[in-house]
């Protein structure tokens, strides 16, 4: 056994220990070791390891950051020091710079987060890039409709004979439900409920928090809740196995709990999944029941084109043979012939899961409200503009201030600076400003994000935990600082030292062209945005105040009246007796936009003639519907509760009458049928047109008015109450009392119809608010730049101003001469920006069926605003200079 301390322990000690401590520590440890050796060599060695480990503490560990005392490092720290001093020496310009830049950056950062969120939609699911949904694209009677849900049998058919299908999952749309646990009395309403099959979990790669993925949705009357939905009833770990009551009469078992769906997925609002075989029609062979959203996951090597090719064959192989059972004489050939002659069609199409959110419009049966790739483009554009405006400010202010730095450059060059090191110096300066701005921008966006989330209806957050975010931020800052810093750096470092020191280096006009150009561009952007915002506002207020053809004011809507059953009618009669109530109507249909299906009507004598058919909506209403909503009849009469025969009558709107090729007067008495599928043709039921209502808007004003039929019906889940008072609360209180007496604990849920109408234009409202905010930001940034330039201009010309004043110029003369240059630039910017804004807003308005003509005054107003704002900005500085006592400027030379 040797008497030396363990080699590896010593190596380790020498590796980590500070050099100035090493000899002492090593010596002492060895001495302790040597003294212990005689007792037990083994334990002495073990103890030595222990001692070395005990020395491994922060105070004794050497610095592993190699201190590099090379020239570059020293120069870099010197650049940094000089830059910092320069910032502090000019606090006014520095803060203008940093403020402008950080506001621009914060705006761009938030927009960036928004865009990232939008683009990440539906990508969190397993194999999302291989998942497609089958849609139906349908054109009948000149009208094209798309559906996000397809026929029930399609899923099985695809699984059977499309070889590239890896797996398929199928949903079934259903309405909102009332749900309570078995022993609770109060119901909770869940708005977003869907039937799902047992493949759902593995298909989308969703894990259950509790429950078994294979059985959770495979049995009848099973349901799976999201965590937040389950927590309303029980603590989630004991939820599985509980019994829940749906809509007061159906017993369901909770078989699983999943996490809430990600906010950036199409299922984001869904809270309850019901096993699909709980629905009666889940295995129905009917191809005309388009209630089943169907998703397919392709094999890795398969393509969308293969899927589309396959889908194109489905109709002839399955749908038409099925339809032949009901339509006598229908053959595949005759169906094809019909398509050719009428231009009608119906086809299955696929859309990639990742394209649904941004690249598909809000079609019928869509799971949740989609975004719009156009918004993403517009916002990216605005984000880039903001950054651009802010860096223009930086460039402008830096070059303008170059005059003050000329002497410094001269002296540095005389002392031996290369041009390269001067460029570095100025780049470090812009880097410093950019980094300070970025820190401020982060802070700003952190503060503003909750408000932006509210505006955009998204849930964005700063991903502080992700290194990618910081990497992108860092790179963006570097790029920005070199972009905005490179021109001043090259410009400033160019001066020849002799001229610079003699004071002839720079004429005031140096770089003036570029500065003017940049100011023009800045104000072009501002004028463009101001004009656009004004147009957007005009259009939206036009929409809001347009006569919709019905009276939405003073109408209270009670939801979920169907839970009352037969008591609904009693309640209606009770409420009609109340004072201040004009009329009450029971119906499921409101003139607010929602998914609607079309029904085919044939006029009598033209049954089965496709080009005579009209496809229009059908609303089941009651006798008081027209009165309650204030719909106007242009011909015929309203439903009459004294006439029993009115159950087979129909009221059309003007659009439907036009589709029939009739005038309102000539349409009265026309007989229509939608009962053409029955076997015994002679008993086909017809409805007589008894009235025609004036067109009213029930879609958003983006669309024109569709055909519509009103028939009498009993099913109703809403009650509309037209009030005759503005004292809503008292009447509502009485209504609620009546509700409570018949409702047996069902929640009282009501809203005002005009409120709900306001939410229809939510997207536009939000967009317009975002527009305003970013417009204000960009105008503010542009003004900051102008303010800085004007301040600098005044500073540079202070002697000139003083001499002019002494020679007798008035305050007015002087401020005009100081402001005129800037004003000229702004005017030029207005001239250039107006046609651009005109063109862009014309394009935007094309989207609306009902739109304003582009008003001229919008452009005049935005020009006046731009001039006004820039005058205010500049004249503050000019006036200050003009009023100042000339002595201050010329007392020292």
């Amino acid at each position: 056994m040797n008497h030396f301390p363990p080699k590896y322990a010593l190596k380790f000690l020498r590796w980590f220990c500070r050099e100035d401590y090493l000899e002492e520590i090593e010596g002492d440890l060895v001495e302790v070791f040597e003294k212990r050796m005689p007792r037990s060599g083994f334990w002495a060695k073990v103890y030595f390891y222990w001692l070395v480990l005990r020395c491994f503490r922060p105070g004794f560990v050497k610095s592993f950051i190699k201190v590099n005392y090379s020239n570059t490092t020293i120069m870099f720290s010197n650049y940094l020091k000089v830059s910092w001093r320069n910032l502090l020496r000019q606090p006014f310009f520095s803060s203008l710079n940093i403020l402008g830049l950080s506001i621009g950056m914060a705006g761009a950062l938030i927009i960036g987060l928004f865009i990232h969120f939008e683009l990440s939609f539906n990508r969190s699911f397993a194999d999302s890039e291989r998942i497609f949904r089958v849609n139906i694209d349908n054109k009948i009677a000149g009208e094209v409709n798309e559906y996000a849900a397809v026929s029930g049998p399609l899923a099985n058919v695809m699984l059977r004979d499309f070889p590239h299908a890896e797996s398929i999952t199928r949903f079934r749309h259903t309405n909102s439900i009332f749900i309570r646990s078995e022993n609770a009395t109060h119901n909770v309403k869940e708005e977003q409920v869907v039937g799902a099959d047992s493949a759902f979990f593995s298909f989308f790669g969703i894990d259950l928090l509790y429950g078994d993925p294979h059985s959770a949705l495979s049995e009848v009357n099973s349901l799976v809740l999201t965590k937040s939905a389950a927590e309303k009833h029980f603590s989630i770990h004991e939820a599985v196995g509980q019994i829940m009551i749906l809509d007061n009469d159906q017993k369901y078992w909770v078989r699983g709990i999943i996490d809430d769906f990600p906010k950036n997925s199409l299922f984001r609002d869904y809270t309850v999944l019901i096993s699909i075989n709980s629905f009666d029609d889940y295995d129905s062979p009917a191809w005309n029941n388009w209630n089943f959203p169907t998703f397919i996951k392709l094999n890795p090597e398969a393509t969308k084109a293969q899927l589309d090719d396959y889908l194109a064959t489905v109709k002839e192989r399955y749908l038409i043979p099925w339809a032949m059972q009901f339509i006598p004489g229908l053959t595949i050939e005759s169906a094809q012939e019909q398509e050719r002659t009428t231009g009608n069609y119906m086809r299955f199409e696929s859309i990639a899961l990742t394209d649904i959110h941004l690249k598909s419009p809000n079609i019928s049966g869509e799971f949740s409200l989609n975004g719009d790739i156009k918004d993403v483009y517009i916002l990216s554009f605005i984000g880039l503009l903001l950054i651009f405006l802010a860096s223009v400010n930086f460039t402008n202010l830096s070059t303008a201030r170059s005059l003050n730095r000329v002497k410094e450059v001269g002296i540095r060059k005389t002392l031996g600076s290369h041009r390269k090191s001067l460029v570095h110096q100025f780049l470090v300066e812009s880097g410093l400003v950019s980094f300070l701005s970025m820190v401020l921008a982060l802070l700003l966006s952190f503060l503003v994000l909750p408000y932006f989330n509210y505006l955009s209806n998204r849930s964005l957050e700063i991903p502080a935990g992700q290194w990618q975010f910081w990497a992108v931020l860092l790179v963006a800052t570097l790029v920005l600082s070199s972009l905005s810093g490179s021109y001043p750096a090259l410009f400033l470092s160019r001066f020849s030292p002799i001229k610079a020191l003699k004071g002839q280096g720079v004429q005031p006009s140096n770089g003036a062209h570029i500065r003017s150009l940049l100011v023009i561009v800045q104000f072009m952007v501002s004028v463009f945005l101001i004009a656009s915002t004004l147009v957007v506002f005009q259009q939206l207020s036009f929409i809001r105040n347009k006569d919709l053809g019905f009276k939405k004011e003073q109408v209270v809507v009670l939801n979920d009246v169907q839970v009352l059953g037969n008591n609904a009618l009693t309640l209606k009669q009770e409420i009609e007796k109340l004072s201040n109530v004009k009329s009450v109507s029971l119906s499921s249909y409101l003139p607010t936009p929602s998914a609607r299906s079309g029904l085919t009507y044939f006029p009598e004598g033209h049954v089965f003639e496709p080009d005579k058919a009209i496809i229009i909506g059908q609303w089941e209403v009651d006798f008081d519907y027209l009165r309650t909503l204030g719909l106007e009849l242009v011909a015929g009469r309203d439903f009459d509760d004294k006439l029993k025969t009115d159950s087979s009558t129909v009221i059309l709107n003007e659009a439907a009458v036009a589709m029939l090729g009739k005038t309102p007067q000539s349409a009265i008495g026309l007989r229509l049928t939608q009962d053409f599928k029955r076997e015994d043709k002679e008993n086909m039921e017809f409805s007589t047109v008894i009235g025609v209502v004036k067109n009213f808007h029930f879609e958003t004003l983006r669309n024109s008015i569709d055909g519509l039929s009103l028939v009498l019906g009993k099913e109703a889940n809403r009650m509309m109450i037209k009030l005759e008072t503005t004292d809503y609360s008292k009447t509502l209180e009485k209504v609620e009392q009546h509700w409570a007496s018949v409702a047996d604990g069902q929640p009282f849920d009501y809203y005002f119809m005009d409120d709900s109408f306001a939410t229809t234009y939510d997207t536009e409202q939000r967009l317009s608010k975002m527009f305003i905010i970013f417009t204000l930001l960009s105008v503010f940034i542009a003004c900051l730049g102008l303010f800085g330039l004007a301040a600098f201009n005044v500073q540079r010309r202070s002697k000139e101003v003083s001499i002019r004043k002494i020679l007798g110029a008035s305050v007015f003369n002087i401020s005009v001469s100081l402001s005129a240059g800037f004003l000229r630039l702004v005017l030029l910017a207005i001239l250039l920006a107006t046609p651009l804004a005109w063109y862009a807003m014309n394009r935007w308005l094309q989207d609306f069926s009902y739109r304003i003509d582009l008003p001229l005054w919008v452009f005049v107003l935005s020009a006046i605003l731009a001039i006004g704002i820039s005058l205010l900005t500049v004249s503050y500085q000019s006036l200050r200079a003009a009023i100042r006592n000339p002595v201050h400027a010329i007392r020292n030379e």
Binding site: Y21, E23, E24, V30, E34, L51, R54, G59
Partner: protein, 109 residues
């Protein structure tokens, strides 16, 4: 170093440095303290205390000559500074001062 206070263990180490002025080094202090306190100490604890004391300006250090002990590694010898002496004095006065204020307490044997 603005921190001029003495921790308890630091004070003990400083006392040892004072007692073996200019001859004190790590292992010596370790052994003497272990004798006095009658408990096992770790050498790195002594090192930490010494570095802190040096940082506070209470001791100075210098290398001793090369000997055959310790595999030829020099000892680092510690000496008390005036500030160190003063700190010890203050602590001593403080303690004896307070100690004198203890009234005669009978613990009733």
């Amino acid at each position: 170093m603005s921190d001029r206070t003495l921790g308890e263990f630091e004070e003990l180490v400083l006392l040892m440095v004072a007692a073996y002025h200019q001859a004190a080094y790590g292992v010596l202090i370790l052994e003497k303290l272990e004798q006095q306190l009658n408990r096992k100490l770790n050498i790195s604890a002594i090192h930490v205390a010494l570095k802190r004391l040096e940082g506070k300006g209470f001791v100075t250090s210098s290398y001793g000559g090369i000997t055959n002990e310790r595999g030829g590694r020099r000892k680092k010898l510690y000496a008390l500074t005036a500030a160190g002496k003063k700190a010890l004095d203050i602590n001593y006065e403080l303690r004896t001062g307070i100690y004198r204020q203890i009234p005669n307490i009978s613990f009733g044997q």
